[in-house]
Amino acid sequence: MKLKKYTLSALVALFGGAAALSLSSCGEDASASAGGDFTAEQVSEALYTVLFADRKVYASKIVTRLAKEEKVIKAHEDWKEEKALLLPAQMFREGAETVDGMDKPFGFTYSLQSLWPLNMENAKKRTPAVMEGLEAVSTKGLDTYGKKWTGEEEINGQKYFVGVYPDTASAPACWTCHNDHENRKDEYPEFKKGDVMGGIVIRIPKA
């Protein structure tokens, strides 16, 4: 896939509290230098690294520790009403929505999608490219299972780089909520630790 180059002086990725990452690297054929060129895939990779790390820390060191181990507070889908922690997926979505409202380099967006959505309105958001990516990263038995998928798509006349990265069940809160949820459909799989439950979708507009 031919990737467009992007120029970058600093990249700020914000998720949850605030994680800042500055990049100064190179594009496909550019030498490393501060303020150099980057491919969309490289930018996407950098974003995913931060998102993955923050998601892992929130799930393990906040939710699992406080709700499961120390049992000082629960994590609940109705977090406001129940005065509880946000579920890891809700935390991720809140961060994504905050980023949607910010001025940021590259105009990137990200979200969490799955072949087995609990909220059927999220199902409508899955474009053909995202569906292809989700099938690749989360279908057991395929060589692509658990590996990133990249592609391109066009929405409303704008071309996008699309990266779909496997989202793995890392904390009990993830699989217990999905396996027991009232919206879960009969044909959905029973998730367990380490299963790919969906994908982190990163989009970067192309010039």
Binding site: D78, E81, E82, E97, D100, S111, E121, K125, P205
Partner: protein, 491 residues
């Protein structure tokens, strides 16, 4: 030239008339406050107070993007409504639709622009909350939700908000989890006392220095201003004197030239030096929004609801409700309102049970917080980051009125009862003198769903309720059915 004009007198006359008309219109456009003559149409109930200040909505950003924008920019709306949208976690923030994956939804309604749903100057198509698109607009995106909810199978999309359950922006009042917890709550709580705040304690907590109380002999106004003994006596007995606030704290502007520091009539800006929270809330409501936009103060003559004629030209300021020197909160909670308001709801207040509780509290027959005045519901004491604040935006919980539930109604009543009352216009007009005849089904629906899913707490509550209501008349619930939708559409 003169000869030419003499020869063409009609042209001269035309030029004079056109010039005068142009000059007049120019004055109205650039300087005059009353711009009604150049308005393209009447504005909504929420904006008509400031319609004379075109630039309140038509900002420079719109002018700069006049050929590319779709009208009034979002920033103009956010300027006044942004804080509230953030405070109640807007369910459909614009930012959500900036994500390209939501393009599937914006193809039906371009939710990126506020004016997509809130067009101004067109009352013919304007519904409640200034909405100018059809009421069943939720259908575009939420059909799949309805299809998957058994309790909602017979409901029309035009009833989503009319039932008082869902709102496009503000769903802080109701959620299924909240409703489920309200199941079985009695209509009237055994203890009906609401929380009240301590203003002075809050101000000290926020950094104001505690002062020693003052008495009349310590009043620091210039001698030539100390001519009204009534004012001095009122101040002497006031909370201001007890908190050490002296005459010059309000009546002095130290930025004025020497000898001209005295302010005869302090404005809301003076009050804001200490009461900035209250003043900012006041600016957000219909009482203060004109002042915020730099217009003259709101007067009842601008109102679209019935007001007392003799109050028509009373300019609204802090002192309209809080008298100049005695700051009587009892007066501000009720009598101040009826100075101007004369609508049916207001007129029925003195016949209501709420008024009886207020009278009882005022004469100390019942505890503080047990009486219900106008302010109890329309300027409720709310918790903001752990501090109790009287919300001086009296419109905040009316838009829509189910926002009144948590901060006011539920202090004393069960949710099903309160939601039923708020859904019944005749009950509201009667100022809650009668109880609602039909019940709002929201709490029951949520409880039934919880029971179906095996929620133990809800099942136990149902068993308890079944065991005690054998002789009770069965409740009649409001039917928000598809047939109602068709009936309304025919109208």
């Amino acid at each position: 030239m003169l000869a030419f004009l003499k020869k063409h007198k009609s042209l001269l006359l035309w030029l004079i008339v056109a010039g005068a008309l142009g000059g007049r219109l120019g004055y109205i456009f650039f300087s005059g406050e009353d711009k009604s003559i150049i308005l393209p149409g009447a504005t909504t109930n929420g904006h008509h107070q400031i319609e004379q200040q075109c630039t309140a909505c038509h900002t420079d950003e719109e002018k700069e993007n006049v050929f590319t924008s779709s009208g009034v920019p979002n920033s103009a709306c956010i300027k006044c409504h942004g804080d509230d949208l953030e405070a109640f976690s807007d369910s459909h923030p614009v930012r959500k639709f900036k994500n390209p994956e939501n393009a599937v939804f914006t193809q039906h309604i371009n939710a990126l622009n506020c004016v997509e749903c809130h067009k101004e100057h067109n009352l013919k198509i304007t519904e409640e909350m200034g909405v100018t698109i059809p009421k069943d607009n939720c259908a575009h995106c939420h059909q799949v939700t309805l299809d998957n909810l058994e309790s909602h199978q017979n409901l029309g999309f035009n009833t989503c908000d009319t039932a008082g359950c869902h709102n496009y922006h503000d769903n802080v009042a109701l959620s299924p989890a909240f409703l489920r917890k309200q199941y079985g709550k009695p209509d009237h709580k055994e203890v009906q006392v609401r929380e009240t705040g301590d203003l002075l304690a809050r101000m000290i907590e926020n950094g104001f220095r505690e002062r020693d109380p003052l008495t009349a002999s310590q009043a620091d106004a210039p001698a030539d201003k100390m001519t009204n003994q009534e004012h001095i006596d009122e101040w002497d007995a006031s909370a201001h004197a007890r908190a050490g606030i002296n005459c010059m704290d309000c009546h002095e502007d130290s930025t004025n030239a020497p000898g001209e520091a005295w302010i005869e009539f302090p404005t809301e800006k003076t009050c804001a030096k200490c009461h900035d929270t209250e003043t900012n809330d006041f600016y957000k409501g219909k009482h203060g929004m004109r002042l915020k936009e730099g217009l003259s103060a709101m007067t009842p003559e601008f109102a679209r609801i019935p007001m007392h004629v003799d109050a028509a030209h009373s300019a609204l300021s802090c002192s309209s409700c809080h008298s100049d020197h005695n700051y009587d909160r009892e007066f501000a909670s009720y009598q101040a309102c009826i100075q101007c308001h004369s609508d049916e709801h207001t007129q029925n207040y003195e016949k209501s049970k709420h008024f009886k509780t207020w009278k009882s509290e005022v004469v100390h027959k019942s505890p503080t917080g047990s009486g219900v005045s106008c302010a109890t519901c329309h300027m409720p004491t709310v918790d903001r980051e752990g501090q109790l604040v009287v919300n001086h935006n009296q419109n905040a919980n009316l838009t829509p009125n189910d926002k009144m539930l948590k901060d006011t109604c539920l202090q004393c009543h069960g949710a099903e009862f309160a939601m039923s009352a708020l859904a019944d216009e005749s009950v509201i007009l009667g100022n809650f003198s009668k109880e609602p005849e039909k019940r709002h089904p929201g709490v029951l629906w949520s409880a039934n769903l919880a029971i179906e899913k095996g929620d133990e707490a809800t099942i136990k509550m149902k068993e308890f309720l079944d065991s005690i209501k054998s002789d009770e008349e069965p409740k009649e619930y409001i039917q928000y059915e598809e047939s109602e939708k068709n009936e309304k559409n025919e109208k």
